[in-house]
C-alpha cells in the first residue's frame, strides 16, 4: 500500500472488516495481514509526531461520541470504550462519524505511533502500568500494549 493509514480507512468505510493487535504489532483487513509483527510493505502514511498523545485524545473523543451501528456493536474486541447510545447527544447522533471508522482511525493511529517510535512509554508514564489521559479520563493506555512482554513478541 502507498499510504496504509488512509487506504485502510477508506476500505473500512466501504465495509471491510479489520483487526488491530497492539501487542503483536499487527493489522488485518478482511483476514489479510497489512502489518504483521511490525513489518509492512509501503508507507505508513503518518509522520513521526512530537505530540502523539494529543492527537490520540482528539481521536478518542471523536470515537467516544461516534455513531454506533449493528456492525460496530457486533465487534468482538475493542481497546477503547465508546459512549452507549443513550448517552449520546442529538448532535452526535445526527452528525457524528460512523463508529467503525472512528475506531480504525484511533486504533491504527496508536499502532503507527508505536511502530514509528513516537509513543515511548518511559517518556509519558514511566514506572506505571497504565496511563490515563488527564483531559479524558476514560482514555486509558496499558503498558503491555506499548511494551509487550517478551514472550508475546
Amino acid at each position: 500500500m502507498q499510504n496504509i493509514y488512509y487506504e485502510v480507512i477508506e476500505k473500512v468505510q466501504n465495509g471491510a472488516k479489520f483487526q488491530v493487535d497492539f501487542q503483536q504489532r499487527s493489522l488485518k483487513i478482511d483476514g489479510k495481514y497489512i502489518i504483521k509483527n511490525g513489518e509492512y510493505e509501503g508507507e505508513l502514511g503518518i509522520e513521526v509526531s512530537d505530540t502523539p498523545l494529543l492527537t490520540i485524545a482528539q481521536l478518542f473523543l471523536r470515537y467516544q461520541h461516534s455513531l454506533p451501528s449493528e456492525r460496530s456493536d457486533n465487534k468482538r474486541y475493542r481497546y477503547f470504550n465508546p459512549l452507549p447510545e443513550h448517552e449520546l447527544s442529538d448532535n452526535d447522533i445526527l452528525y457524528g462519524e460512523p463508529r467503525e471508522t472512528a475506531q480504525i482511525k484511533l486504533e491504527l493511529y496508536v499502532l503507527i505511533m508505536i511502530l514509528n517510535g513516537s509513543l515511548k512509554w518511559d517518556e509519558f508514564a514511566k514506572d506505571k502500568w497504565f496511563w490515563q489521559c488527564p483531559s479524558a479520563k476514560e482514555l486509558i493506555i496499558l503498558k503491555e500494549w506499548v511494551e509487550p512482554k517478551k514472550e508475546n513478541k
Binding site: Q13, H86, D90, L94, Y95
Partner: protein
C-alpha cells in the same frame, strides 16, 4: 386543608405550606429503555423517586420532597407560582414501575432523523459526490426491505395495545397494504428472474437453478408461485397487527428459501413508505425539539400543518420527502456543514 413541610433541595430550608389539589401531568408519547435504578443510600421515598428521575436526565429543578402532617413523604411540584403534589399515579412514575423505562420526549424517534440525515449526505466512495437518498436506500440491498418491515411490524404489534397514538402514526406508512404490495412485487421479480436464467435439462426434462435450488419448469407453479401466493393470501386475511407481523415473518422466510439477491429491485411501495415515515418523523422532531417551523407559522401551526398533510391518505411518501427537503432549506440546515463542525 392539610399542611406540608417542604424542604428546599438547594439550601435545605424547611417551609410550611398549604397543600392544594393534585394536578394531572400529560402522558409522554415515547419511552426509551433506561434502567431506573433507585439509589441504595438512605433516602425517603420521594427523594428516591426524584433521584431516579435525575439520574435519567429528567429536569427535576421544580420537584421537591415534602412531608405531610401524617409523616408520609410525597413528591411536590412548583410551577407557575402554584404548588402541587405529584401523585403516585402520575404517568412518569407509572411508566417507570411498569416497564423500568424513563419517558424522554427529547429522544422521540431521533434515530429516524439521524438515519435520514446520514442517507441524505451519503457520498459515492470513488467520486466523493452525494448519491441521493434513493440511491442510499438501494445500497442497503433487497434483504433490508424485509428485515426493516418485519421489525417495524413487530414494534407496531406491541404499540397497538400500549401506545395507540404512536401506533397510528407508524401504521400510516407501514401497513398491510404496503406488505401485500411488497409481496406481490416479489412474486413478479421471481417470475422475471426465472424468465432470464438458463434452462437446463435432466434426462430431457427442463429445469432451472433458482438461487442454488434445482426446480423442474413444470413444478415452478406448484413449488414456488402457489406457495408464495398462499402466503400473500394469509397476509390479506390478517385482522390485527400481531397476525400481520406473523404472516410477514412467514413470507420473509419463504423469500429467503426461494431466492434473495442483493441487487433485486426494492418494492416501490416500500420505498415510498420508507421516505414517508423518514420525512414525517424527521419533520416532527425538527419542529418539536429543534425550533424549526414552516414559513410564517409557529410551532403549533407547523405540527398542525404536518398532520393535515399526512391525514390525506393519498399523500404519498415521496411528496412528503420533498416537503422535508424544502423545510431543511428554509430552516437553513446544512447537514454537511454540521458534520464538518462535529469533526472539529
Amino acid at each position: 386543608m392539610a399542611k406540608f413541610n417542604v424542604q428546599c433541595p438547594k439550601c435545605g430550608a424547611n417551609i410550611k405550606i398549604n397543600a392544594p389539589e393534585v394536578v394531572a401531568v400529560v402522558a409522554p408519547i415515547s419511552a426509551i429503555p433506561v434502567v431506573a435504578a433507585f439509589p441504595a443510600k438512605k433516602l425517603n421515598a420521594a427523594e428516591a423517586k426524584i433521584e431516579a428521575l435525575r439520574s435519567a436526565d429528567v429536569n427535576v429543578e421544580n420537584l421537591f420532597s415534602i412531608r405531610s402532617t401524617n409523616g408520609a413523604y410525597e413528591v411536590g411540584r412548583f410551577s407557575e407560582g402554584q404548588f402541587s403534589v405529584v401523585s403516585d399515579n402520575d404517568p412518569i412514575f407509572a411508566a417507570i414501575k411498569a416497564s423500568r423505562t424513563i419517558p424522554d420526549r427529547r429522544l422521540f424517534r431521533r434515530w429516524i432523523m439521524a438515519q435520514v440525515f446520514h442517507m441524505l449526505s451519503e457520498k459515492d466512495c470513488k467520486t466523493g459526490n452525494p448519491i441521493g437518498f434513493t440511491a442510499a436506500l438501494r445500497r442497503k440491498g433487497y434483504k433490508y426491505q424485509w428485515k426493516m418491515v418485519v421489525e417495524e411490524l413487530r414494534v407496531q404489534a406491541k404499540l397497538f395495545n400500549d401506545d395507540p397514538e404512536n401506533y397510528a402514526e407508524r401504521n400510516r406508512w407501514f401497513n398491510r397494504s404496503v406488505v401485500i404490495q411488497m409481496a406481490n412485487d416479489y412474486i413478479k421479480l421471481v417470475k422475471n428472474i426465472v424468465g432470464t436464467i438458463r434452462i437446463r435439462h435432466c434426462k430431457g426434462v427442463p429445469y432451472v437453478r433458482l438461487d442454488g435450488t434445482d426446480i423442474f419448469v413444470d413444478d415452478l407453479q406448484t413449488r414456488v408461485y402457489a406457495s408464495l401466493e398462499k402466503l400473500v393470501k394469509s397476509i390479506k386475511n390478517t385482522r390485527n397487527p400481531g397476525a400481520l407481523h406473523k404472516a410477514t415473518v412467514n413470507f420473509y422466510q419463504a423469500v429467503k428459501n426461494t431466492c434473495l439477491f442483493f441487487d433485486m429491485e426494492q418494492s416501490k411501495a416500500f420505498k415510498d413508505a420508507y421516505k414517508g415515515a423518514g420525512a414525517f418523523f424527521t419533520l416532527k422532531n425538527l419542529i418539536l425539539f429543534h425550533d424549526c417551523v414552516f414559513p410564517k407559522m409557529d410551532q403549533e401551526a407547523s405540527i398542525a400543518y404536518l398532520n393535515y398533510l399526512v391525514n390525506d391518505k393519498d399523500f404519498e411518501g415521496y411528496k412528503l420527502f420533498g416537503v422535508l427537503k424544502d423545510f431543511l432549506i428554509t430552516n437553513h440546515i446544512d447537514i454537511e456543514a454540521k458534520q464538518r463542525e462535529w469533526q472539529k
